[in-house]
């Protein structure tokens, strides 16, 4: 696996949505490639820092509106499929 291939899977890897065999390949890459290890680790930290920062606490009503709008949209998506691609 090349570094660019690793990077392409990084988001899926960090989100834990990845099949077992790909995960093994990625972790194998991480075990010898220090650069990707650092990128992976610091990207994880980046996400955590923003998540913990409470910089963007949404007011509850806005959150509720957003959620329900999304739910509605998701149902449309299921019926008609996504618009793009």
């Amino acid at each position: 696996m090349k570094c660019s291939e690793f990077l392409n899977e990084l988001t899926n890897y960090l989100d834990g949505v990845i099949d077992e065999s790909t995960k093994i390949e990625l972790e194998n890459h991480l075990s010898w490639c220090h650069n990707c290890y650092v990128v992976c680790d610091t990207t994880k930290k980046t996400i955590e820092i923003y998540r913990d920062s409470q910089l963007y606490e949404l007011p509850d009503d806005l959150r509720t509106r957003l959620r329900s709008a999304i739910m509605k949209k998701c149902q449309q998506h299921k019926k008609h499929g996504p618009k793009s691609v």
């Binding site: 650092v38 820092i49 949404l58 618009k83």
Partner: protein, 138 residues
Amino acid sequence: MRIAVNEALMKLRRKKPERTVSLDEDIKTEDDSLPREIADWSPNPEQQYNQAELREILSKTIQGLPPGFRTVFVLRDVEGLSTEETAAALDLSVPAVKSRLLRARLQLRERLGRYFQRRGNEDSGIVDGKRASGDGNQ
């Protein structure tokens, strides 16, 4: 991040998302977010700064992202929406959300590195709340 969410809500209300395709296309530049800076960070980078400094760093950094990346990052990683929900909210395809999320994460990481990188002499601790003493970024 009121702004990002408002953007999302506005998109939801819009009937015809005509710009979807072009928005997808304008982020296809491949190497813009590939890691260049690969130095490791200090063990607890956020503790090098006080609360106010940290907030400033984080908000300045995220403001530097293209809005289309920022919105995806906030909805997915801060608000914790799923990829599918984010795609629906923004009228993007799932692959487009994933691609933007990756770029947003990598760009933020790269920029935060200026502040959080492990420094040669850790003991000095405080760097004026601004940036790590210039070991050549950019």
